[in-house]
Amino acid sequence: MEHNNKDHATLAAAFNVDEARVDWHDETLWFVRQKRDKAVHIVPEWEALRETASQIKNNVLSNLHDYLLQFEKNAQQNGITVHWAADDKEHNQIVHSILQQNNINRIVKSKSMLTEECHLNNYLKSVGVDVVDTDLGERIVQLADEAPSHIVLPCIHWKKEEIGELFHQYLGTPKGNADPQFLTGAAREHLREKFLTRRAAITGVNFAVAETGEFVVCTNEGNADMGAHLADVHIACMGIEKIIPLQKHLGVFLRLLTRSATGQPITTYSSHFLQPRKGQTLHIVIVDNGRSRQLGREDFRNSLKCIRCAACFNTCPVYRRSGGHSYHTAIAGPIGSILAPNLDMKDYADLPFASTLCGSCSNVCPVKIDIHQQLYKWRQVLVKDGYAPTAKKIAMQGMASTLASPGIYRFAGKMGRWVIKHFPFMVNNKLNAWYKHRDMPAPPKESFGEWYKKNREKKG
């Protein structure tokens, strides 16, 4: 999603206008969370798997330099061309130059949140390359000129009737047909023609194995494979943190990924690419884009352990009720809220505050990222560095001076209780940011200080 000047609270307020839709969105995602629970509870060693995955990722982050070199060497020996991109801009230019060298200006792309983060589609469009997203959900949002609102379920915010209308407009399906089976069939026909005619395919990477130089791409639809195996050129884009040390570690991560994501025991396809197909060229673009910086932030380093399952999205009470677009960044939800401030503290200063800090995200995370604790720590960093939202800053400054002076504190407490009691509308209005999302409590008759003084005096 393009940056705009709206923050999470404003965008969430817009999403919340249609209350019935919010309930529907909330329930749909909670349904996915429940499917995750069912899949997880039948695996007795689940917690041991999480702990192992977490420790593997800790090792990866502590030895990333060597693992990347090992991966590069093995991939090159396997016949893969490896490229390195320091940032989003360089990533996009590398992809474009590979396409140019092959005289290709029409491509297919399967799901890659990295390419969303780099705004690759917009870039390629600006240089005259036509990109067709082939994941069904991504194709739907692409036709609607939107960004995905969820990293696993890109169009979870769309209703089937709206998709029916969209397909009527773009794919010529009969007006009023909103049957998911029928619409998926129409998309299948539409996209198969693209698979058969496009000479380059971009895919993401779920895991890249240092030991073997192979990378693994997981899909349910088979779109990454349809694209890659029919194209002359396959470009796989990965962040530096996708590395895992050993092939056998795939066993741990593939057991965790889809159970956490959708409650399936595994994705339909877990494809391992070692070498290019005969007659094909295979490229990997390894992208930093701020990740090495995040690696140096001790408090936030663990965010790089993420395997993009979106379990934290589905369980988050704020995400479920505010929608993915309210996060105004490619990766929404709790994990996105700790990744985004690393990219731009000013643009994303609002996101660590878009949480209740309930900790549900950390509880479901398959690699045990301390998500809610990092959200809390980002708040402190952002306030200290002067990036906090203005209203919050003023309120915090007022609170700080009140708490610093016992006299002002006692007076303010008395005033507050008196105001709430006699003039409730003065706090129960939209000028009070706290009241916006909460009911003000009934005022107590007296403060604890006053009560203590009175009772102690009585007894004394």
Partner: protein, 194 residues
């Protein structure tokens, strides 16, 4: 300094001191009967599964299931009487009109109903994705309990491309309604050969 050097030196400067790798052996194997578990899970994720004694039994099932199919290909010479033997060399795009593709798989995984196939079996990588219906044959005694044992099987083998396939291609992108047959096969049938 190239981007490669810049990225690598940044990582080296910022990565914490080495944390040891954990042991990934010794996870429990919770299934009393791996074949039954495989069948149950594969059915639950939308696959068809048949336990058979021989190739003749496979052909009998396929004849009934795919009576209307016009292009049926296989990579197994033992199915010559029923399907056209496919050999690599053709343009993969020409597989677009394949109704049924019959392959063998190296092994199955009980916990998730997946089968492991590699390029050597497939002849053409796109084959199990582009066909309308996929049929895979596995030996009963190759089914392993979990992905840990699966990677023990894969370790040391050589392949340019390999994939786990678990059931038919699917999507639930439209309002979480499960639809079988997204881009790949609309059905997947696995024969477990005794």
């Amino acid at each position: 300094m190239s981007s490669r050097e810049k990225i690598l030196s940044g990582i080296k400067a910022n990565q914490p001191s080495l944390i040891a790798l954990p042991d990934v052996e010794n996870f429990v194997q919770p299934f009393a009967d791996v074949v039954e578990k495989f069948k149950t899970v594969l059915k639950a994720i939308g696959g068809n599964v048949h336990a058979v004694q021989n190739v003749a039994a496979i052909i009998e099932v396929l004849k009934a299931q795919f009576a209307d199919a016009s292009r049926i290909i296989s990579v197994l010479p033992e199915l010559n009487d029923y399907a056209t033997l496919y050999q690599q060399g053709d343009d993969p795009h020409l597989l677009n009109d394949v109704d049924v593709a019959i392959i063998k798989a190296h092994f199955g995984v009980a916990e998730n109903g997946a089968v492991w196939v590699t390029e050597a079996i497939l002849q053409e990588r796109v084959l199990p994705f582009i066909c309308q219906h996929l049929v895979a044959i596995i030996d009963k005694n190759t089914i392993v309990p979990t992905m840990h044992q699966a990677y023990e099987q894969i370790a040391g083998t050589s392949y340019g491309f390999g994939t786990f396939i678990a059931g038919p291609s699917k999507t639930a992108d439209i309002e979480q309604s499960l639809v079988l047959g997204a881009h790949g096969p609309k059905t997947m049938t696995v024969f477990i050969l005794a």
